[in-house]
Symmetry: C2
Subunit: 126 residues, 2 copies
Amino acid sequence: MIIKIEPQSDIPIYTQLTNQIIEGIAKGEIQAGESLPSVRSFAADLGVNMHTVNKSYHQLEAKGIIKIIPKSGAVISSPTQSIDTVSQRMSGALRSIIAEALVSGLEREQIQELVSSIMNDLNKKE
Amino acid sequence: MIIKIEPQSDIPIYTQLTNQIIEGIAKGEIQAGESLPSVRSFAADLGVNMHTVNKSYHQLEAKGIIKIIPKSGAVISSPTQSIDTVSQRMSGALRSIIAEALVSGLEREQIQELVSSIMNDLNKKE
DNA sequence: AAAACTGTTCTATATACTCTATAACAATTA
DNA sequence: TAATTGTTATAGAGTATATAGAACAGTTTT
């Protein structure tokens, strides 16, 4: 899994890391049951602070995507939350983006196609 | 158009305002050519600072959604950006959310339905 | 023409967030 | 036993958010 951090981005480093780990899982590059690197080694690889990686792991745990086992490691979880819970959380995030897309002149079909192409891209198990 | 600001949210007030104005435009509650309230009167209505509203307006202008005419007002624009430009910008924002939805166990069809239901809801001209 | 209002700009303050840097602890692992 | 693990604590620098007040020049209204 290739992680690219852009320090100058307005997106916090720990969120960039969280997003890219999620993408890695979606692509199947990491699977449920497997472990993420330790916060120290991962931080060294990325050239960032240990606490930054730690914050990302806790962000992933809050989303129910990994399980942090104290003194041991961070393990990818199988989906556990109910569909309704996930849908509700996703809906709030999607709403603003879709509204902006509509206002910016995108047609409904174009938005659906955009979503499809993204899902296709995320299904590539590299 | 009803604006609800949650001061305790982790989303900045000016972004909350930006998103809800965009939703208002998407719903047709405000149309292209019409003006937004002045930063001072809007701030007074919402109970926030003038500069917070001003920042929201500039955020909307950066997205190409309004045009700020100095000493005059903020006018809703008609979509002007190319489809490719908008698609590219939306794609980046959508990617993280869709990846999380997939990892959280949502099926492709369920995500498409979620997008559809959001677009239906945004089309209600209240 | 005068008054009110417009977005803009400037300074200032308080709070919170981000990121880095050390250090130490207790439990797991090699 | 030694190394590694996540955790916790403190500290500092830099940035972001939000508020507040003031002043300016152009626009709009009266």
